[in-house]
């Protein structure tokens, strides 16, 4: 009897693993085709279509993740052509982890966006196709193993992101979107220039093949510099960060959540993937220090700016700039045998936890804007009774961002820290600790407003608007997931181990 169960369980597992290869293109095509269908039918005529598409996308993602967890990295040669000629879709543990994050946050954004945008009087007609195409693009970036295909995806990411940031169409949003657009275009072209040089040097566009053929010469160095700088501009890494705060804080809340937790994150993902898979020959200690240094400055700068903001969404947006710095700390640590594995795990873990916490924080801020009509911190005083659930989500999310135990943020920072300490890299260890403390400062500053008594003489002119239940609870669920990741980290770390980069695994043997 029990063996029968085991057999059927085994068969299901085999079936899922077999269909994982097909799920690879589907995580791109399902949301894309849903988006086109939504546009064709019109979202008012079929309001159930976007959630259905989101559910199908999540299903494809689950099949894919299951396949990676059981059968290792999955690959699909599009058109049946071998990689240097054709394009390969490839999902290893890192990609699967990011697809999982995108599925969770994407589902939350899809559920939240409808009531929020309707309540704010914004049209959903173009939001749905743009958002679903953005989801497809995100998945595409995680699984594409082709440098030029990634360029196409990056442009798609920009062109779906900018209109979402501009949706409010007021002065601040338009100027932010324009700035984002111009800088992102510059970034894409720098990336493309680097790709052109790489193709000129190796004759290939396939990630792994280029990585294998590349020698540490001037071409590789210039190409890496162009690609890295271009991606930094698109991900708002420190000196090229100016567009992020206005763009992310002026977008409607669900779009802010997607932009901060996923879109900019996908670009940082690409930075890490390219450095670990394509440019490991160039990843010397000084190079790691250079990029890690940029990350460290971003951590401090973003946190200090976040402390000074008078509004909630800019605080969260600046926190994104700071949190991306941690991801860059991977590069100086990964070259050191003692630190490579924990730093790799810590960075990937941080990407996931930050995504969940940041989405939760932005959606909670969205609830505040929905209920009060503004997001000024001063105005938060004495409002805890109205927004208690949302503020709980905000507090949990901030706890994760500052790395308080037992949240997921603690685990990711602890992994980074233990790597730095094991390799005796005191500077990076200090950066991790200081970054956490600074995050605590801006987080508690916000939470202090939340719990402060109302100002004296305060008269309530109008009761805050009632929140739809789904909007109230979505950020809480996301924040709880971020918390849960601190309690049990093994499933994610095991998934991550599939197809870890050689630069990490070479020390293990």
């Amino acid at each position: 009897m029990s063996s029968e169960f085991a057999d059927s369980g085994l068969m299901t597992a085999e079936l899922l693993t077999a269909s994982a290869e097909l799920a690879l293109p589907l995580v791109f095509f399902v949301p894309l085709l849903t988006a086109l269908l939504v546009f064709w039918v019109g979202s008012t005529r079929a309001p159930w279509l976007p959630p259905l598409g989101a559910a199908l996308t999540v299903a494809a993602a689950v099949v894919l993740i299951f396949g990676v967890a059981n059968g290792g990295p999955q690959s699909h040669h599009l058109g049946g052509w071998q990689p240097p000629l054709g394009i390969e879709l490839y999902a290893d543990g890192f990609a699967a982890v990011m697809i999982a994050l995108t599925a969770v946050v994407g589902l939350a954004v899809t559920l939240y966006a409808g009531p929020y945008l309707r309540g704010k009087g914004l049209s959903l007609e173009h939001f749905w196709p743009l958002w679903l195409i953005q989801w497809a693009t995100l998945n595409g970036i995680f699984i594409s193993a082709d440098l030029f295909n990634l360029y196409v995806m990056l442009e798609l990411l920009t062109l779906t992101g900018a209109p979402l940031a501009a949706m409010a169409a007021d002065r601040a949003a338009l100027s932010a979107a324009l700035r984002y657009m111009l800088l992102a275009l510059l970034g894409s072209l720098a990336y493309l220039l680097g790709v052109a040089l790489l193709y000129g040097a190796t004759g290939s566009l396939h990630l792994q093949e280029v990585g294998a053929l590349l020698e540490a010469d001037a071409t590789a160095a210039i190409a890496a510099a162009l690609i890295t700088a271009g991606l930094f501009a698109k991900a708002a890494i420190f000196p090229l960060h100016i567009w992020l705060m206005p763009a992310h804080s002026n977008a409607p809340a669900p779009a802010s959540a997607a932009l901060s937790a996923l879109v900019a994150k996908a670009v940082v993902y690409l930075v890490l993937r390219l450095w670990l898979w394509v440019f490991p020959v160039l990843l010397t200690a000084p190079m790691g220090w250079l990029i890690g240094g940029i990350g460290a400055v971003a951590i401090v700068y973003g946190a200090v700016q976040a402390m000074r903001q008078p509004r909630l969404k800019p605080v969260i947006a600046y926190s994104t700039i700071a949190q991306f710095g941690y991801l860059l700390l991977l590069l100086p640590l990964v070259v050191l045998p003692a630190a490579a594995l924990p730093a790799w795990q810590g960075a990937a873990y941080h990407a996931v936890v930050h995504g969940l916490a940041k989405a939760a924080a932005f959606l909670a801020a969205g609830n505040m804007i929905y209920a009060l009509g503004h997001d000024r911190l001063e105005g938060l005083r004495g409002l805890t009774p109205y927004l208690s659930v949302s503020m709980l989500a905000l507090a949990l999310a901030f706890a994760s961002l500052m790395g308080m135990p037992p949240t997921g943020g603690f685990l990711s920072k602890w992994l980074l820290l233990s790597g730095a300490i094991a390799a005796e890299q005191w500077l990076w260890a200090a950066v991790v600790i200081v970054g956490g403390l600074l995050a605590a400062v801006y987080a508690f500053r916000v939470l202090a407003y939340v719990h402060a008594a109302p100002p004296s003489g305060w008269v309530e002119l109008r009761a805050p608007r009632r929140l739809p239940r789904i909007m109230e609870w979505t950020p809480v669920v996301l924040a709880l997931l971020a918390l849960l990741l601190g309690v049990s980290g093994m499933p994610l770390l095991q998934l991550l181990a599939h197809g870890a980069p050689e630069i990490v695994t070479q020390w293990a043997e």
Binding site: P25, G79, L130
Partner: protein, 357 residues
């Protein structure tokens, strides 16, 4: 030294004068070098004028000429497909978009209020950053030129390239034009992505769209205005020709320069012309037919691609023996799906309607 240069040029530039005597060859090669040199000078001069010239309108016009020169340069570099596309899209459509935006943005400057930047006096370049920033920019740009030039000249062509593989396997792609083979078979997901980019640009433009009066290329031909005498007959001649050229480019793409993109660009250019002369009018929302055309290319391409997983073995793989027919079908639909968003982006509207005269 000149001799050495000419020798190089003979080996580098595939000129048609291969049958002449040695001296003829050298002269031909030298002439070609002179041509390339002039072209390069023209490109550089125009590019500088475009980004830093004094008058913005002149810069926009020069950008169009720059695009045409770039097309010539690509023809020189044995890329006729690209020369066609650059002339039609890079110079033509982009130029039309820029001119229309210029009229909207600048046509009103200098006549109003506190917001408007003061029109700079002649002699000072308008609206630039401070001198130190310009110096920094120049230094950065110089560094880039030096780095890229150094690398580009020193690059040794690799033994094996994806392009060589594409040429070797061309027979299995279903078409004879290698660029079409790469775009619609070997790397077809890029093409899907690119048409999605076009669609997304249209959607994005709708998000920030203004009222119809201000979104498009201005108020050409209001009802009260009479159009010049020759416009009618000219359009009556150009319109069928453009459709013919579209069809030809589409069909030719299978075996010689041309294809869905060039054909779509020509069709879009026709729509731009009709919109400018008032024969097509903007409409706020796309009709069902327009929506179908907008999404049709990607939907058909993706559907055939996904069916390939069952019928052929991989997503985006064509069933054996069907490749040429399917590619032609996809290209035909793509032509429309490329032309319409381009036309709508120029028109600044969600849809178009025919003007009844």
């Amino acid at each position: 030294m000149i001799r050495a240069l000419a020798d190089d040029a003979v080996s580098g530039a595939a000129t048609g004068a291969a049958t002449g005597a040695a001296t003829d060859l050298e002269i031909a090669a030298l002439l070609w070098w002179a041509f390339d040199g002039l072209l390069a000078l023209g490109l550089l001069g125009l590019a500088y004028q475009v980004v830093a010239g004094r008058q913005l309108f002149r810069s926009v016009v020069l950008f169009i000429i720059y695009g045409l020169l770039m097309a010539v340069a690509w023809a020189r570099l044995a890329a006729p497909d690209l020369a066609l596309a650059e002339a039609a899209i890079g110079a033509g459509l982009t130029g039309a978009l820029l001119l229309s935006a210029y009229r909207n943005l600048i046509g009103t400057d200098g006549e109003e209020g506190p917001h408007a930047p003061i029109t700079p006096p002649a002699g000072a370049p308008p609206m630039t950053v401070p001198r130190w920033a310009a110096l920094f920019a120049a230094a950065l740009a110089g560094l880039l030129v030096a780095g890229i030039g150094w690398v580009a000249v020193g690059l040794q062509p690799p033994e094996q390239t994806a392009g060589r593989l594409a040429l070797e396997q061309l027979a299995e792609s279903g078409v004879e034009n290698p660029v079409t083979a790469v775009l619609l078979n070997f790397r077809s997901i890029d093409t899907i992505g690119e048409v999605v980019v076009l669609f997304v640009a249209f959607l994005a433009a709708r998000v920030v769209a203004q009222e119809l009066d201000h979104a498009g290329p201005g108020d050409w031909l209001r009802a009260s205005q009479r159009e010049p005498l020759l416009v009618g007959p000219l359009i009556a001649f150009i319109a069928p020709m453009a459709v013919l050229v579209t069809g030809y480019l589409l069909w030719a793409g299978g075996h010689q320069p041309g294809g869905a993109f060039q054909a779509g660009a020509v069709l879009a250019a026709l729509a731009v012309l009709l919109r400018l002369t008032g024969r097509l009018r903007p409409r706020l929302e796309p009709t069902l037919l327009e929506r179908s055309v907008l999404v049709g290319g990607v939907v058909l391409f993706s559907a055939i691609g996904l069916a390939g997983a069952g019928l052929a073995g991989a997503v985006l793989e064509y069933p054996p023996g069907w490749d040429y027919r399917l590619i032609l079908l996809i290209e035909t639909v793509l032509t429309l799906s490329i032309a319409l968003p381009l036309a709508l982006l120029f028109s600044g509207s969600g849809g178009l309607r025919q003007e009844v005269r």
